[in-house]
């Protein structure tokens, strides 16, 4: 993958917004990779949790907003309890999802779910899914 870095990207308002919404200081991360080592969802991810933090530090907005990984993360908080620098990675990922959801770019289209998908699962599954994946 070819990635271009620039001062402009580093100072993109996107970076400030991610920090603001997540309440995290991205530059604290020293890229040890522990978050990714224990994440149960890495098999399905195109950008790993530590890379998400790195990309966010560098202002790689397009890559993050288009990533599959942010929707595979289940906010299980494993990374948060393990990060030696005390970073809440799950909150950073939530912030990126929220940036999309607040523009009504829903990940799950409720009206497109099949009746079986909607009917067979318990309310707890539907409510949490819609809370996380719809605006």
């Amino acid at each position: 993958m070819r990635t271009n870095l620039s001062r402009r990207k580093l100072r993109d308002p996107f970076v400030t917004k991610v920090e603001e919404l997540s309440g995290q200081n991205l530059l604290v991360c020293y890229q040890c990779g522990k978050c990714s080592a224990g994440c149960p969802a890495v098999d399905e991810m195109d950008i790993l949790p530590n890379q998400i933090i790195r990309f966010a530090q560098l202002g790689l907005k397009e890559e993050l907003l288009a990533s599959k990984a942010i929707w595979v993360c289940a906010s299980c908080m494993t990374c948060n309890v393990r990060c030696p620098k005390g970073i809440n990675i799950a909150e950073v990922i939530e912030a990126i999802r929220q940036i999309l959801l607040r523009q009504r770019k829903d990940h799950v289209k409720v009206e497109e779910l099949k009746p079986s998908e909607r009917g067979d699962v318990p309310p707890i599954a539907l409510i949490s899914n819609f809370r996380k994946f719809t605006s």
Binding site: V72, A74, E94, P122, N129
Partner: protein, 292 residues
């Protein structure tokens, strides 16, 4: 101790086996709980963004209802309700400004919330208030020879601020199983996420996890897995259908709520177990051991 009880969205339908067994067990233990008269869904997940206060309204409203019942303790059974209610409670307790905004928003409520309700999970009540030693004396049908793996998942133990046990190596359910006379089986996937709400749009992901988690428990010798969350229960039990379709060599495993085993050990009638709500029938193993 006056205890209010918050059931949440799933305990009145798909997880009726969780509610009925817990209430029967508590009755046997002479613990009175009063369900909130007008509860509302907690939202199921704690809102993770700093500026999003609106999603704390639902949890805080339930805490107001608790106070209106003259109680200062709210018991939950579902791990997700526990997590959401407790985390919102901790957030408003630590941020007076947030609490003021939330109280203002609910200006028509008769009373204000002042951070004065404690959110508790049944497991911690059993251990700290009722006490395992007392419970042990009330066991009338010990779960002899039953090998049980306790699956904790995410929301009982993470983040550490709200957990009542170790985030990496919780043992409270294992201890309870031993108190009930069963053999607790430790296994490496007990705090690994089951995929949670991905089950709606990505059931394949959940099938992978269910395969991993239950196969690991089986390898360690477990005959049954217990959980404390209706979403984990759905994923680990009902999604075994998708799991076996994806992994033909997968061996099925009954999954129950810890309260169902508690109810059995305390001599509750079989109706309170609602064994009809399971996908993998736990009856054969329970009958084989002579528990039902």
């Amino acid at each position: 101790m006056k205890l209010s009880y918050f059931p949440g969205c799933t305990l009145k339908n798909h997880a009726k086996n969780f509610e009925d067994s817990a209430l029967c067990a508590l009755k046997t233990l002479d613990v009175t709980v009063q369900e909130l008269e007008r509860w509302n869904c907690c939202g199921t997940v704690f809102s993770l963004t700093t500026d999003d206060l609106i999603h704390h309204i639902a949890p805080v409203r339930n805490l107001i209802r608790t106070k209106q019942q003259g109680s200062d303790k709210l018991m939950t059974l579902c791990a997700m309700c526990f997590n959401t209610l407790k985390r919102s409670n901790e957030r408003v307790k630590a941020n007076q400004e947030d609490l003021d905004i939330i109280n203002d928003f609910m200006y028509r409520e008769e009373i204000k919330y002042e951070g004065d309700v404690e959110v508790l999970h049944l497991l911690e009540i059993l251990k700290n208030d009722i006490k395992f030693e007392t419970l042990a004396q009330k066991v009338s049908k010990p779960l002899k020879d039953l090998k049980v793996a306790s699956y904790y998942g995410c929301y009982l133990v993470r983040p550490e601020e709200i957990a009542f046990d170790d985030a990496e190596n919780p043992v409270i359910m294992d201890e309870l199983m031993e108190v009930l006379g069963a053999t607790a089986i430790d296994f490496p996937f007990k705090v690994e996420c089951c995929g949670a709400y991905q089950t709606v749009d990505k059931p394949g992901v959940v099938a992978d996890r269910t395969n991993q988690i239950l196969t690991s428990a089986k390898k360690q010798g477990a005959e049954l897995v217990v959980v404390s969350c209706p979403l984990c229960a759905f994923n680990l039990d009902h999604r075994q259908k998708e799991t076996v379709a994806k992994f033909p060599e997968f061996k099925s495993m009954p999954v129950m709520y810890f309260t169902q085993l508690l109810a059995i050990a305390l001599g509750c009638p079989e109706e309170s177990l609602r064994l009809d709500l399971h996908y993998i029938d736990p009856k054969p193993i329970l009958q084989e051991k002579g528990f039902i």
